[in-house]
Amino acid sequence: MLSVENLKFNYRKAQRDLFDNFSLELNEGGVYGLLGKNGAGKSTLIYLMTGLLTPLAGRVTYNGDDVRRRLPRTLSDLYLVPEEFELPQLSLKQYVKLNAPFYPRFSHDDMMRYLDLFEMEHDVQLRSLSMGQKKKVFMSFALATNTGLLIMDEPTNGLDIPGKSQFRKFIAQGMTDDKIILISTHQVRDIDSILDHVVIIDNSRVLLNASVGEVSRRLAFRPVQPGEQPLYVQQSVMGTLGVMPGNGEEETNVDMEMLFNATLQQPERVNELFNQEK
């Protein structure tokens, strides 16, 4: 379990706190989508979660240990794929030989499977790769470390068109009940079908942290009927689509973009709906 407890953080030059009394819990078996506007602090939160930044107050624990202590047992069980990164001038084989020993559950077979899925060669020169290829190779290594926590910042940025579908297969295949996967993204349509939890943050608060199953029970995403009062509406070729309180009967498909917009526009109403007894 990853637990963010009463976190306070700001960058020295910024006037306001990016996080203040911010708490969040991530549990094994969940594929979490972390959504927030530009500047909401998604990447900062990720660095705080992985012990790369120090909170001004509060703490982040992973399996009970403060991540800021950077204990070997913590670092060997978490992996971060940042949005942008450089790879060393090595072949993939050399890279794996140097880095895999830090991760006791690393599986060579898994990595080969993921590389195949992304249609990548098994051994490549890392410096000769394009940005998208680099991402595919690095993510294959990351998931094959089989760490209990895998965090990816904007993983579909820079992927080609087949790459987005390959990415969904990759996550669906590599996810197991003893892992936590957190994906921070703006390209929510790329990944919404593989998420089972959604976390929406804004103004140093968690506006929503719910399983997709719960969202589909609490809210309905469908055409608006006359007289209805949706939380959020959006015009489309099919007419006016809205986010409505769920009627507890037929479940509709969760539209993550509409959920995000509805939550940002009406956080109180959404909060109320999710805290009702069902």
């Binding site: 297969k169 996810m175 079908s193 998420l195 089972d196 199953g213």
Partner: protein, 121 residues
């Protein structure tokens, strides 16, 4: 895999499996793909497929053998057809009838249209 906008994805996947059973691509007493396999194939979360299988089990279309996975029930085809008939009669048919009335199609015309359709296909 592309999904329609409105219907919950786990139900759309259930429809797909129903199609596979009716078309004989999944045989009676044959094993259906594992949750993880199907999740990767459909590019969805494993929990979504788990819900699909729960639903199919509740409706008697598949059954589980402990430790071995899910299998297609002997009367799966009958059940699927019955279920789809009910859904059609309650849902789409109602809308369709409304449209027919709105544009003034008479019962006789409808009967002829349907007879022609059956004869030509």
């Amino acid at each position: 895999m592309n999904f329609k906008d409105n219907k919950a994805i786990y139900l759309q996947i259930a429809d797909r499996i129903g199609d596979d059973i009716l078309a004989g691509r999944l045989a009676v007493d044959g094993k259906v793909p594992s949750v993880r396999e199907l999740a990767a194939q459909m590019e969805v979360n494993a929990n979504t497929v788990a819900r699909t299988y729960d639903y199919l089990q509740q409706t008697g279309i598949i059954y589980t053998k402990r430790g071995l996975g899910y299998f297609v029930a002997a009367d799966a085809c009958d059940r699927i057809v019955r279920q789809r008939r009910e859904q059609l009669m309650q849902g789409e048919m109602d809308y369709f009838m409304g449209q027919l009335r709105a544009v003034g199609v008479t019962p006789d015309e409808l009967r002829d249209l349907y007879s022609d359709y059956l004869a030509s296909s």
